[in-house]
């Protein structure tokens, strides 16, 4: 039998939005729990150099998030990154968030679950996941020291991953289906590296290998030809998708799978807020995630005060 625990506020996700909400909720003396199923810090946990967060000329994602976590904890918020959420019931009163070990009941739930890397949409992906197909260059790049690496994608994350992986690769291919979206500085750095071959307007159509990935089939959209490229590992950076699987039966989601909520972060359920990249909105930055966390926390306190009469 799982232990049932009451909280004023349960925050789902410990990225910038969730931790900022926790910091504000903590300061307002709300009994606040943050649950994180993956890595504290979310998408920026691994960022090497953040130069667009006001107050810092340059700071690593790890250092920035550790500071915000410490701020939240100093004001009494509790962060549990080990107990995985299994189910939520947001329409009940109080709202329920059930983890592997506990059942949390809360008047307010702030969803700040962020985004996950998009999986490679090929049937062989499952066979080779962790055996040649990877999503975290920082975690798995070391296994490809002196080997041939391909990076899939053309945005900043992909090009930054490629630049990082050149320190291991004997040869690196950047494979992308259209043109670069990454900024000029990162592109130039990549193109200047002798180990790198940039293959734009190309797509990986199939993965080959016995127990591990050995090669990929690459289709050239310009020439209409397919060739086999020997690679030991590919790192997939083809964008992100909202982490809303837990909420699809509880809340209205947009066509892109994000939670529909206004700039006030209120969803259609009273007392349930959506903050950060998981909320459907036009601009998704670290600063706007912090802004959403602030808004959601302040309006959560407002909601709780009205409930208390």
């Amino acid at each position: 039998m799982k232990e049932r625990i009451h909280k004023d506020v349960v925050i789902i996700g410990a990225g910038m939005a969730g931790l900022t909400a926790a910091l504000y909720c903590g300061r307002m003396n709300l009994d606040t729990l943050v649950l994180e199923n993956a890595i504290v810090g979310g998408q920026i946990a691994n960022a090497v150099d953040i130069e667009n967060f006001p107050g810092f000329i340059s700071i690593s994602g790890g250092d920035l998030i550790a500071t915000v976590q410490k701020q939240a904890e100093n004001f009494g918020a509790v962060i549990d990154e080990f107990d995985t959420i299994e189910r939520v019931a947001l329409k009940s009163s109080p709202k329920i968030v059930e983890t592997q070990e506990k059942i949390y009941a809360a008047e307010v739930v702030i969803i700040a679950s962020g985004m996950n890397r998009r999986k490679l949409p090929l049937p062989e992906e499952k066979k080779f996941a962790g055996r040649g197909v990877h999503y975290c260059e920082l975690c798995d790049g070391h296994a490809y020291d002196g080997k041939i690496i391909a990076v899939m994608g053309g945005g900043n994350a992909a090009v930054d991953a490629a630049n990082f992986l050149t320190k291991y690769a004997s040869k690196l291919y950047l494979i992308h289906r259209s043109e670069f979206r990454a900024d000029e500085v990162s592109q130039k750095r990549l193109r200047a590296n002798d180990k790198v071959t940039v293959m734009l307007q190309t797509e990986i159509k199939a993965l080959r290998g016995d127990k591990r990935l050995e090669s990929v089939e690459v289709f050239d959209k310009v020439t209409g030809t397919t060739k086999i490229l020997a690679v030991d590992g590919i790192f997939v950076n083809i964008g992100v998708e909202p982490n809303t699987q837990l909420f699809k039966d509880e809340l209205n989601l947009s066509a892109s799978g994000r939670i529909i909520a206004g700039e006030d972060c209120r969803t259609e359920i009273d007392g349930v807020f959506a903050a950060g990249d998981v909320r459907e909105k036009e601009i998704r930055q670290l600063t706007t995630a912090a802004s959403d966390g602030t808004t959601a926390a302040l309006l959560a306190e407002n909601y709780l005060a009205k409930l208390g009469g």
Partner: protein, 77 residues
């Protein structure tokens, strides 16, 4: 003794270490980037160099962070 095959800067390795620390479990860090013997051991145990790999006896292991599986592994000690 619990052994965690890992390396500095690996976020999931850090999560495993934090969890073991939170549970009060003593463990030995085996850095596969700093020590080639540890890398070879890791590959022998899991068949790969993907980390974190958590093991007690060098045979049964948990790849990545999975609280339930780590708890089961610790229960065998």
């Amino acid at each position: 003794m619990v052994k965690v095959y890992s390396f500095d800067g690996c976020p999931w390795c850090d999560k495993v270490k934090k969890y073991l620390t939170a549970r009060g479990v003593e463990y030995e860090v085996r850095d596969i980037e700093e020590n080639a013997d540890f890398a070879a051991e890791c590959e022998k145990i899991s068949g790969d160099l993907t980390v974190p790999v958590t093991t007690i006896d060098g045979k049964n292991f948990v790849l990545g962070f999975d609280k339930r599986k780590i708890d089961e592994l610790l229960a065998t000690a």
